[in-house]
């Protein structure tokens, strides 16, 4: 739940410091709050906070506000904010960093499709080395909202009749050569 007011004593400045020390987070404290990122973001009007407020809250240390937000999951990683930022802050990479911590701490909104997709994609590629679009969509639906499949029937049929729907479950031969887990976000 979003609090009506934020209290400074609830902020965690040490966490903000650590966030700025992760790769891509370097410029966090040089932000001018000019709002160019939110203006350049094609998705900001649909977000609960938007990139400018994410940066403002994050550098103040309001960890739960940003980690529980839907904003970080609406980010499509188009890097428009990053290439437009006058301070060259790698905002899209800060978003990634926050997504990883939200997953690790299980703070993401439950049954919200974007984090579900990310996790199912990750599992599929870790197991098989490749992603099979058809099977990925099935897994996404069953783990979020199974009824979404009804809305996808038309597109599925269109893809099928144009020979673009592969039912094959792809995998690589050298599964042992795939990288192992290297989690370490909250450190």
């Amino acid at each position: 739940m979003q609090p009506e007011l934020r209290l400074q004593r609830e902020a965690d400045p040490a966490w903000a410091r650590r966030l700025s020390e992760r790769p891509g987070g370097e410029g966090l404290f040089s932000c001018l709050q000019c709002g160019t990122c939110s203006g350049a973001c094609p998705l900001s009007i649909y977000m609960d906070l938007g990139p400018r407020r994410i940066i403002a809250l994050a550098r103040e240390g309001f960890r739960n506000d940003v980690l529980q937000s839907k904003t970080i999951w609406l980010c499509a990683s188009c890097y428009s904010c990053t290439v437009h930022c006058p301070r060259q802050i790698h905002i899209a990479d800060v978003m990634y960093s926050l997504k990883r911590e939200a997953i690790e701490q299980r703070l993401y909104p439950k049954r919200f499709p974007p984090p579900v997709l990310a996790q199912e994609f990750y599992k599929m590629v870790r197991q098989r080395g490749r992603n099979s679009e058809f099977w990925l969509v099935l897994r996404l639906a069953f783990r979020s909202h199974p009824l979404m499949l009804l809305g996808m029937l038309r597109t599925g049929w269109d893809l099928l009749r144009t020979g673009r729907l592969s039912l094959r479950r792809e995998r690589i031969r050298d599964l042992a050569g795939l990288p192992k887990e290297i989690h370490r976000e909250a450190a």
Partner: protein
């Protein structure tokens, strides 16, 4: 420019984006550029892997770079914008962050990361522009375009921070290649605005809305088709036009083509080998356009 280009297809070019693979292979064959698929490549991880485990995401790409290096490819052609960005971002991070380089090196069992950073990751648009060029392309034209004006849509990740494919804010290379093969282009200000990527599958209304804006603006600028360089952009713009017509009343039915399909057609490729029958929207327009084509020289395919 290398003798044989390594080819990293990525997952989309084997399913929803199969027309991109077909037209790319045909076009490179017509131009006499040898392209060899990297054996046993793995998924680039796209945006999802990066959202879960950063070190493993970079290691996935490092494995692909290593396979390309072992096959002695100096150039690695990655047609999908997501693959292209992830591969290049991996090289950038391995050079700038020693900790990430160490992790990746340990993960793929290779301490010599310099050779992986030396693999030149390239987008086919940049390969065609730099290694072939508009002038040589024009010399090879055998068919005069019989279709309408197109909007060149570059999308986001191909031109963003780790790229050398084109200018990040106002890319022009696709427009130049289209004009080289006598295809008229529209002034399209939204050419680098994101299509939403996987959002059409996750937060459907938002994803479709982004694509609606892109389509409407192209039509408003007099374009009768959109040309793309990315399988996800093509899929998004192509697949939801019927839904957009139904929910908004806008009568959009634009063909969404790959730039390799149009170049391949001008150079004499046939409909099947360019995947031109695989479009969902604007199918009748495409048929009409292809029939109106004038043969300039004897086709050699």
């Amino acid at each position: 420019m290398s003798a044989v280009y390594g080819y990293f297809p990525g997952c989309s070019l084997k399913s929803t984006g199969v027309a991109y693979e077909e037209s790319l292979l045909t076009l490179f064959r017509l131009l006499g550029l040898p392209l060899e698929e990297v054996d046993d490549w793995n998924c680039c991880g796209a945006t999802s892997y990066m959202s879960i485990d950063e070190g493993a995401a970079f290691s996935l790409s490092a494995r692909n770079l290593q396979l390309a290096h072992q096959a002695r490819h100096k150039d690695l052609v990655a047609p999908c914008s997501a693959c292209y960005l992830v591969l290049r971002k991996t090289q950038d991070y391995m050079q700038r962050y020693p900790r990430i380089a160490r992790e990746v090196g340990a993960s793929i069992g290779n301490a010599n990361l310099k050779v992986l950073n030396a693999v030149h990751v390239r987008h086919p648009l940049e390969v065609l522009y730099t290694d072939v060029g508009p002038r040589r392309l024009r010399e090879k034209v055998v068919r005069r375009w019989g279709g309408g004006r197109v909007a060149c849509y570059y999308g986001c990740q191909m031109v963003r921070p780790y790229s050398e494919a084109d200018r990040p804010h106002d890319p022009v290379r696709m427009d130049e290649l289209m004009e080289a093969v006598h295809v008229p282009t529209a002034a399209y200000a939204l050419k680098t605005k994101c299509c939403g990527g996987s959002l059409t599958g996750t937060i459907h209304e938002v994803g479709v809305r982004l694509n609606h804006i892109l389509l409407k603006e192209a039509a408003r600028k007099g374009a009768q088709a959109i040309v793309t360089v990315c399988p996800l952009c093509q899929y998004n713009l192509d697949s939801y036009q019927a839904e957009i017509r139904r929910t908004t009343g806008d009568r959009l039915d634009l063909p969404i083509l790959y730039f390799t399909q149009i170049l391949g057609w001008a150079l004499g490729g046939d409909i099947g080998s360019l995947g031109l029958g695989r479009a969902i929207s604007g199918r009748r327009t495409i048929e009409r356009w292809l029939l109106k084509t004038r043969v300039e020289k004897e086709a050699y395919v």
